[in-house]
Amino acid sequence: MNNWFAARRQRMLRLKVRREGERPFQPRLSAGAPVFEQCPRCHKAVPRAQWEKNLLVCPACGFHRPVGAYRRLSLVLDEGSFQELDAELTAGDPLAFPGYGEKLTGLRRRTGLREAAVAAKGRIGGLPAVVAVLDSRFLMGSMGVAVGEKIARAAETAEKARVPLIVFCASGGARMQEGILSLMQMGKTAAAVTRFRDKGGLYIACLTHPTTGGVTASFAMLGDVTLAEPEALIGFAGPRVIEQTIGQTLPEGFQRAEYLQEHGFVDAVVPRGKMRDTLALLLRLHQKGGARRDAI
């Protein structure tokens, strides 16, 4: 019985991953479709199958391509453990901003996402967790009312279930199109993860490219443990705004994950291939009473 459910969940996740894979990866390799795809950074032509096998990390230069929310979940969750939370949750158009509604409709069709965040219950290395993921393809992963609410609910679900909370950030910040209510989501999410942590919950923030603006200045920087993907841009102000303000070009590597670690804001820079094991380790280390005796 249990196996049947697990298999069904896995099928569901695979379906969603395939759907978000339509861009940049065509699911159907038709006769005319290119078999190679160029790395956006080193321009090496890499076979598509190898991109897939290497979790969208360039085998030549190590460049981490953005991954969709469902793919991200499939990369970290144990097989068959994915259970989506608040899948249908969306928000309206508080500013009645011209073109916003159409934009949302188009993005929903193209990405298979309902909003810029996906939350799920699942297991990592056999241990339960709530995992929320932002997706940069959906309006730059920006935080409007629905995204803020999903993060807050994820924290509350984790609190009730007494399991750790993991959030993968990838966001340009607050969502301009929802105006002041987007800004208020910073308060909502910061309060929610703080309450969760104060009740003894473990919150792991995973910062991926890019994590900026109001997301950085709220839940992204409030982790008990903070991880980052290599070379991810992480900051409050965007590099262009800073350059305009100070009137000089920024140094190489500024606001990258490694820079943040050097400055004391990130515990570990974790390559994508090691993320699942690192999360599993952290979950194990935070089990009540530590590791099992027989594991020592």
Partner: protein
Amino acid sequence: MTRSDPVTPAQRVALARAPGRPGVAGAVKALFTDFFEHRGDRLCADDPAVLAGIGLFHGRPVTVLGTRKGADLEQNLACRFGMPTPEGYRKALRAMDQAEKFGRPILTFVDTPGAYPGLEAEARGQGAAIAACLARMSTLAVPLIAVILGEGGSGGALALAMGNRVLMAENAVYSVLSPEGFASILWKDSSRAQEACEVMKLTAADLLDYQVIDRVLPEPAGGAQADPIAFWRTLDQALTEELRGAARLADPARHRQRRFREMGNSWLNAGKETR
């Protein structure tokens, strides 16, 4: 804004930014006696763009916090025209901890274009400093009343404004980003800032509608800067009432958490809209 309202949102933006606009330094002089200023974040520096201290408000000690633009060019430059660095936000955190320890209510006065976007500010964790302020404000057991006096710019303003009650001067503005930034991001054209002022819904009346703020402080004709004394009198009266109300809160921290937990929730749907 009502249809008969003669002041446009763009005019309010101009009034909010006008030189001589009453700020936290003026509030300290006008509303408090026996003021002592906290300086420094106890980590590395003192940022004058954040003013923190303890004052007597009608004989009762309160913690005062605010963003400061400065009164003359020299001060403007020292305060980066009201844009705090992480050191400023960490000084604010320290003042919040002090308020909590000694059971003092906190009054904050906000007038900032936003947090400073600089190289050192990023290196020292601007985002982390603001996040820490938000987290701290969400758990404070003492009441916090926030007043938006002039510009309430983005996360740099919210960092001092997670109040049990949030008040806003009639000509103040409060927004997710400056109208110039908004126009430049959404329309790739910062010269459309005037238009942005209209669509952003950044006036006190708009924010009262969204339940982002709780109370509008009327200003004299020509703005608070035209008659600061009258404006301080209005604010004094309002803060007296608000503190009296806040004293009745059984659990100010929980109240604040609930207030922000509800932000924007009337706009949520669960799968009702079309795909």
